[in-house]
Symmetry: C2
Subunit: 345 residues, 2 copies
């Protein structure tokens, strides 16, 4: 049995322990070999653990940390003042090997900066990137990065993201020779920003990368590319837009039965049934189902949950950490990177 211990920043996110503690109990219930180190203020955590299942509690340990990284903190300042925060303590548990992964819904910029400082980047990677694997229309998967860890990216970083994304697609999504594209505002070579055009030039001549060119935002879910590379600003805008549109659609479907009062009872039942089927059909696209982006490029597993994640979304982020540990993602990526990464000049 592999050792499977995850450090959880209990205080991060918009709701803190109110969400993270119940999510942690759910993850423990569905993973009988999982242990969780719950890092945060014991006073806020303990009441939420009262009267819970003793077996689950036996696999959970509260690690005290009195300070909290503020959601609106400026990364540079917050990193300097991070000692004793639940986020840093949780990351350090990965550093020392007491945990195999860390999950946090806290401030993205601080998590990214702290993770890089405490866990270090894989050789050849300048800046880690936030990556998600999204379901696509072709029933396959699309690896998208960066989703918000780096708002300013030069062409070199984009190339490194492309390489990490390709390895992730091969190793995790099990896609042979994955197609790699750069997100741009047109498919023509002259389009977009300088860093994107420069990255395109490099990727075209990188032998181990199956570079297919630019794609636009409308291809995010179509499966046209297996790996979609962009800077953290554009990636975050695209992902959040997608999530927003899906939520609007799901809420429109849900409200579509209450429209007409004259509908007969059997019609209502049928509509409810069909509605359920539609929600199920679109369910795999529900943002809560794939909450949790990996911070890729580090010597350790760090999963960033949405700050506003609800209980089931935060549980999904913990499950992602479990899978990442089981599949040894950082080791596999590090070993593949050395063969794929273009030699730096």
């Amino acid at each position: 049995m592999t050792n499977l211990t995850i450090a959880l920043d209990a205080m991060g996110g918009d709701f803190g322990p109110r969400i993270t503690v119940p999510a942690c109990l759910r993850a423990l219930a569905s993973n009988p070999h999982l242990k969780i180190l719950l890092v945060g203020q014991p006073d806020s955590i303990s009441p939420l653990l009262a009267n819970q299942n003793a077996e689950l509690i036996s696999r959970l340990q509260v690690i005290p940390a009195e300070h909290i990284v503020a959601n609106d903190a400026k990364p540079s300042q917050a990193i300097r003042a991070s000692k004793g925060t639940s986020m840093r303590v949780a990351l350090d548990l990965v550093k020392t090997g007491e945990a195999q992964a860390c999950v946090s819904a806290g401030n993205t910029g601080v998590l990214m900066g702290l993770a890089k400082l405490r866990l270090n980047a894989i050789d050849g990677i300048e800046r880690p990137a936030l990556v998600s694997i999204l379901p696509n229309q072709k029933k396959g998967k699309t690896v998208v990065l960066d989703l918000g860890a780096n708002v300013n990216c030069d062409s070199k970083m984009l190339v490194q993201f492309a390489v990490m994304g390709a390895v992730m697609a091969e190793e995790i999504a099990e896609i042979d020779s994955p197609k790699v594209a750069l997100l741009n505002i047109g498919e023509e070579e002259s389009k977009g920003l300088d860093n994107i055009r420069e990255a395109a030039t490099v990727l075209k001549s990188t032998p181990n990368i199956n570079y297919i060119g630019y794609v636009e935002g409308n291809e995010l879910l179509t499966g046209k590319t297996d790996v979609l590379v962009c800077d953290g600003f554009a990636g975050n805008v695209s992902l959040k837009t997608m999530e927003g549109v899906i939520r609007v659609f799901l809420s429109l479907i849900k409200s579509s039965t209450t429209e007409n009062k004259k509908t007969s009872w059997w019609m209502k039942i049928l509509k409810k049934w069909l509605q359920k089927r539609l929600i199920k059909r679109f369910g795999h696209m529900n943002p809560d189902q794939y909450n949790g982006a990996s911070l890729l490029g580090l010597r350790g597993i760090v999963i960033k949950s949405h700050g506003g994640a609800n209980e089931s979304a935060f549980t999904a982020a913990i499950e992602q950490a479990v899978h990442a540990v089981e599949r040894k993602i950082p080791e596999r990526i590090a070993s593949r990177l050395t063969t794929v990464l273009p030699k730096s000049d």
Copy 2:
């Protein structure tokens, strides 16, 4: 009766006259007072006009232009070499007053640059922006700009976009004191890029603007803000992502009846009926329905259609031009701008 003549770049877009000519006939049929100046290569246009309704043809005049701006042309070069292109001839018809608006599905960068050169910008506006009015979840409208005319924007441009967007929301969407927000990757003040943070500082102290702060991509359709301001890269990524997700949803709904072969006939009929209702319900979000973004900030009306627009989408872009002429958008915006625009230092 107002004079209502629109110049159409018949050659622009991915499909040229094959799409633009039938769309033009449809627009003529639904607007009995409309006249269209169809600019392009007579040899490609004339065959498509053969055997068409004589009354429609009587309100249509082909203006010969032998050259075409390539979809993948670099704006700076293409603008220098633009003499005799259908795009430039169409814009010049607006300049001389022979037409009140121009519609093109051609190269965005070239259209933007040429339009600025031929029609000039409104006083106080450095760069025109592409703007669309999107339907939102609250059954209201959201003005979004820039959607791709300017990939690099400094804070001054973002502030001007905010002002133009607010005026558009008041004058066209008829919203009192419209809420204005900047698109960012978090709601906290420290988030995002320098130009966005600088624009926020200016907007906060601009008395005629109801600035509400940052919003993220997931708020594009929720109606949280009436005006959403961003640079052309982020705006294009967000809009295209939205369109892509909506298309995926519509296609999932359409395919959801063919799933199960054992379904009884009456169930099939019911499902078809419900499916139709759902498509109708989401129909107002179908990208084809609101194709056409206005190039805002010019002394004239220029509507940019999607390059890949189909016949009904291109017709929607022509209809937008008709409405813009009827509502005298540039004049109303220019006259309001003088009272709202912060004095330049």
